[in-house]
């Protein structure tokens, strides 16, 4: 059955490509089928713990899902299917779609495969498939591929090869590729290896989860891939890094003597990532870049939670991972919808779409509230648990840093909403219509998901708890959470339902007595009809305030943003190229030189033969 799932995925990818040659509708159908059928099969027939194993050139590979993987599979499959539906109208009219769709299926397959693989080889194989399929998506639109695409792939390759190095070391140490064997025998490794292996693995996972200082690929890649894919790219694919990081942090690092410092370092890297990502997101004028940097920041929180690693922190991190999948997926979809309808995703160009695209705005609003972590939506639960865990585990400075970044996050949240939907309604965008339902419904579903999880986090905390118990945590149910209650180390509680009801009640009251009654009486005037000191702004006069939106704030935090790792990497790259150019000159293209080389070669060998050949 497990094989069948992957076979269907692969075949679906191929068929999607081929059927595009026949008829686009057929292609769309095949595409959706090859996403949905395996997913259904997966949830129907695969239960946790069932594994299949086979042997390939001497390595024993085994596939099977465990509770943690099951949790992440919710993100991958759910988001994947929704994004698949979204993709069909979003990508309509683009060129070589067969390529796009089959890559799409391949990415989903590889992510599911990562969750399935119980051994390092297949883990790595699926990891690499994921990498190059996402790379092909990044370069899909062909915008400066040589810079952004190559940067993404080089960073992914560095990460992957670090992982590969770790894998072969592990194999040489205990002649087995199974992850379980690694975990069981890790304690017996010598200290150098105990340090080297987790660090190498963390480099590998850190790249995908955009951890400082390996995050520089993120902004470009996220914004260059088609939005229909970026919603998975940021929502699900980056979570694979988190998945691996969880395994390393929980299973390996505690075994290391002095492993504490590794945890702290990673936690601080995560915090720095969060702050840097947030500040850069505030500085962006392009929605895609803004969301990209904000993804980096959000992943920073998750990394902090994983690295701190107390049960509450782990709960928080995994919950935030799910939430991030939901709202960031929705937000990228919103951006895609706006870009599709208006042709640009730049705040300085497009404004005042709220009355044109109300449903999109609703999705954006809910997702943004969730992102900002404002109750009663789900983002708050994750934030709350993260803060409580940090305070409870006495990371006092860390909690301040995190709080700073999540407060500064309000800035870009508002910028996103204002830039697209609020503000002056320009004549230029009068023609804009609401996006097709097939695009809007997935967004709204995701946004609604954040709402539900805000009221009943237990729904998702339950599988998280299962996954954590599997990794050796004690059960946290009742200790830290109930269906709709949260507790911290000191037993202070949050009851989410009363909060929700209170908010709904007050809101309903004022909505009725202020909005409905008021709205009836009032009549709509255009956004040109504002108190501009008696002047009557004409249609073509642009009163929108969207350039240098947060200039004072940015001026304040300028010293923090002066250092930019990206620059250093580029410098390094240029230096390397210069060096390579030098080595290229070794081959002068002159026969005599080559002959001379040969002579020198043999002379050297003859001179040093005693030392070289140990005579």
């Amino acid at each position: 059955m497990i094989y069948l799932i992957f076979v269907i995925f692969l075949g679906g990818a191929a068929l999607t490509w081929l059927s595009g040659k026949i008829h686009p509708i057929l292609r769309d159908v095949v595409f959706l089928a090859s996403l949905i059928v395996p997913s259904v099969l997966f949830y129907m027939n695969v239960e946790v713990g069932q594994t299949v194993s086979f042997s390939l050139i001497g390595y024993k590979l085994s596939w099977g899902i465990n509770y943690l993987g099951y949790l992440f599979s919710y993100i991958v499959v759910g988001l994947g299917v929704l994004a698949g539906f979204y993709a069909i109208p979003a990508m309509k009219g683009k060129k070589n779609l067969g390529f796009f769709y089959s890559n799409f299926v391949l990415s989903i397959m590889s992510m599911l495969g990562i969750l399935f693989s119980r051994d390092l080889i297949s883990f790595f194989i699926f990891w690499e498939i994921m990498t190059w399929s996402s790379y092909l998506m990044v370069v899909f639109q062909g915008k400066d591929v040589q810079k952004v695409g190559i940067k993404y792939f080089v960073f992914s390759a560095i990460g992957a090869y670090a992982m590969l190095m770790a894998i072969v070391i592990i194999y040489s140490l205990n002649q087995s590729m199974m992850i379980s064997d690694l975990v069981s025998s890790f304690a017996s490794f010598d200290p150098t290896m105990q340090w080297l292996i987790p660090i190498l693995l963390l480099v590998g996972f850190g790249v995908k989860s955009a951890m400082m200082p390996l995050h520089v690929w993120a902004s470009g890649s996220y914004s260059h891939a088609p939005m229909a894919y970026t919603s998975i790219f940021s929502g699900a694919l980056s979570k694979m890094g988190i998945y691996g990081m969880v395994i390393v942090m929980v299973s390996l690092v505690p075994i290391i003597p002095e492993g504490f410092w590794l945890r702290e370092t990673i936690a601080w890297l995560g915090a720095i990532t969060a702050v840097g990502g947030t500040l850069w997101a505030v500085a962006q004028d392009d929605a895609k870049k803004l969301l990209a940097y904000s993804s980096v920041a959000q992943l920073g929180y998750i990394i902090v939670g994983v690295a701190v690693g107390t049960p509450l922190a782990m709960l928080a991190a995994l919950f935030m991972a799910v939430m991030h999948g939901l709202f960031k997926g929705a937000l990228f979809m919103v951006t895609g919808a706006v870009e599709r309808q208006t042709g640009t995703s730049n705040f300085t160009e497009v404004t005042g779409l709220i009355r044109k695209m109300p449903w999109t705005f609703l999705a954006a609003l809910m997702s943004i509230i969730a992102l900002a972590g404002i109750p009663p939506l789900g983002g708050f639960v994750g934030k709350w648990m993260l803060y409580e865990s940090l305070i409870g585990s006495s990371h006092y400075i860390l909690v301040i840093v995190i709080f700073f970044s999540s407060t500064a996050a309000f800035l870009y949240c508002y910028k996103f909403l204002f830039g697209f939907f609020l503000g002056q309604e320009e004549k230029e965008w009068a023609h804009v219509k609401e996006a097709p339902a097939m695009m809007v419904v997935p967004m709204l579903l995701l946004a609604f998901g954040t709402f539900v999880l805000g009221a009943f986090p237990g729904l998702i905390l339950d599988p998280i708890n299962a996954g954590m118990q599997e990794m050796g945590f004690a059960s946290t149910q009742g200790k830290y959470w109930e269906m709709s209650m949260l507790f911290n180390e000191w037993g202070d509680q949050i009851m989410l339902q009363p909060i929700l009801y209170a908010i709904i009640a007050v809101f309903a009251f004022f909505a009725i007595f202020l909005t409905i009654k008021g709205f009836k009486k009032t009549r709509y005037v255009t956004t040109k009809d504002i108190s501009s000191s008696g002047e009557v702004p004409l249609e073509h006069e642009n009163l929108t305030f969207s350039v240098n939106f947060f200039q004072p704030f940015l001026r304040t935090v300028e010293p923090l943003m002066k250092r930019q790792i990206d620059k250093y990497y580029n410098e390094f790259g240029r230096g390397m190229e210069a060096l390579f150019d030098f080595t290229r000159r070794v081959y002068t293209g002159n026969g005599q030189t080559y002959a001379l080389y040969a002579v020198i070669f043999i002379v050297i060998l003859l001179m040093f033969k005693n030392t070289l050949f140990g005579l």
């Binding site: 609003l365 006495s394 609020l422 509680q493 009486k521």
Partner: protein
């Protein structure tokens, strides 16, 4: 029955907060006038204004969000009011005090500004947007020392709930402004920004931004903003009193304590000019943050 009693208690709390907040506003106007060597309006002037604003017709709107914005703001202030212990022995006013904690309060408090920002954004008035950006930037400024102070309290008394902190105060018998003075200093400095009196009134700078976010809101909207502002002021003051001044046993003491605390930003504001945005942010990241840091160290090591 239970539920109805709770609802009645909640309504009573809201009314109390409204009245106290509004009259504080009037009294502040009076005091300001006195300091300007004027006679000033009567202390109930704010009520008159509020009533008049209700009476004013609201003929136009700039879209649905302009209507929802004030609703969001009211939600924020009232819900946060629900979670603040008004009196030590809750009595009538224990609404939802035990269902939330400080971190929840911090977050529900920023719900309002966001709603106001949305309402302001819908009107399309550039001044509103500018005011909103200023407000958010300033919020990033003063939240840092404020949270540092709160974290200091939390780690000092091993609880994150307001009620827990109040009980801790009762056990020690000393107000926290004495048991953890640096936290108090940081919190009060942050409060200057929270109340947005001069020199931190950069959001609604009347002549510079034409009263900023509310510049398109007359009539009901303005009334809603005004009253929610008053309730919100009451909420913050009560929270400070609960945290640092050992709460209040009855309303009189509550009023006295809150009023005394309220005078800090007011009196400081009357005699000050206005900061620019980056100046105010830098201010909050200067000494207040330093004191917050000291407070955390103090809480850890003492």
């Amino acid at each position: 029955m239970e539920l109805t009693l709770n609802i009645l208690g909640a309504i009573a709390t809201i009314v109390l907060a409204f009245i106290v907040g509004m009259s504080y506003g009037g009294i502040v106007r009076k005091i300001t006038a006195r300091i300007h060597n004027r006679m000033g309006p009567p202390w109930y002037q704010n009520f008159i204004d509020a009533f008049k604003l209700i009476g004013k017709t609201t003929a136009i709107n700039h879209g649905i969000m302009q209507h929802f914005g004030p609703a969001f703001v009211m939600v924020s202030s009232i819900v946060s009011l629900m979670f603040i212990p008004i009196l030590n022995n809750g009595g009538w006013f224990t609404n939802l005090n035990f269902d939330g904690d400080l971190i929840f309060l911090i977050y529900i408090m920023v719900f309002g500004p966001l709603g106001m920002a949305l309402g302001a954004g819908q009107t399309g008035n550039p001044n509103s947007a500018i005011g909103v950006t200023r407000g958010l930037s300033q919020m990033v400024g003063f939240e840092i020392p404020w949270v540092m102070a709160l974290v200091a309290l939390m780690i000092q008394f091993d609880t994150t709930s307001v009620t827990g902190l109040m009980e801790a105060q009762h056990e020690t018998g000393r107000w926290m402004m004495f048991t953890s003075p640096f936290a108090f200093i940081a919190a009060v400095l942050a409060m200057l920004g929270m109340f947005r009196y001069s020199p931190f009134d950069i959001v609604g700078a009347p002549t510079e931004l034409a009263s900023g976010p509310v510049s398109e809101n007359g009539g009901k909207y303005l009334f809603t903003m005004m009253s929610s502002g008053s309730i919100f002021a009451f909420v913050k003051l009560t929270l400070y009193v609960d945290l640092f001044m050992g709460g209040a046993d009855n309303l009189i003491i509550l009023v006295l304590k809150t009023f005394a605390l309220y005078m800090v930003p007011v009196l400081y504001g009357i005699v000050s000019p206005r900061y620019r945005t980056e100046q105010s942010i830098k201010f909050f990241w200067g000494w207040p943050t330093f004191f917050g840091f000291i407070a955390i160290l103090y809480a850890v090591f003492v």
